[in-house]
Symmetry: C2
Subunit: 103 residues, 2 copies
């Protein structure tokens, strides 16, 4: 079972999940939704961009600069693979019954 | 959404999952099942023991020393909370439909 550290890191996992669900998202919306500092978010988004998992677009809205982020096809695939791995792990928990396994 | 680093780290997540499902497990079985080095496994189990998540028992089987590991109640609870968090994240992905959300 392989976990891709790019996706597995807790803050990035939540960024991936948010962008996967919501599509293109402006930076301030991500800050608010994920309850992270701007510096922390920038750092993780930068790493995701370096890995080819997100694209960044800068534009002006009401004369103010706005930066938006969107998962690339590769980013979506990486995230989907990661979720598949987690689901496999979770499904495995209910596999057999034994005395000490909980549930 | 909070991720407990004790549980979230990839190798430990798999140790938690294995012990949760299989109950008390001997060290060599864990090495084989998780495909990790003995040193790496020892290090992670040590950290889990320090955190009160596993108990360690040493006994002799056929005159050979054998070390077994088992999740404590606290370890089981931590793991269950973590799985709940992951399930919440995964369930959230299918929440609304929007144009860029993949699936």
């Amino acid at each position: 079972m392989e976990f891709d550290k790019l996706v597995h890191q807790p803050t990035r996992l939540q960024i991936f999940a948010y962008l996967y669900r919501h599509g293109e998202t402006a930076f301030p919306e991500l800050v608010e939704a994920l309850d992270v500092t701007e510096g922390n978010l920038s750092s993780h988004l930068g790493r995701m961009e370096d890995a080819g998992a997100v694209t960044v677009e800068k534009q002006f809205v009401d004369r103010k600069p706005q930066t938006t982020y969107e998962l690339t096809d590769e980013g979506q695939s990486k995230f989907e693979e990661h979720i598949d791995t987690l689901e496999t792990l979770i499904d495995g928990l209910a596999g057999d019954t034994d005395e000490a396994g909980g549930q």
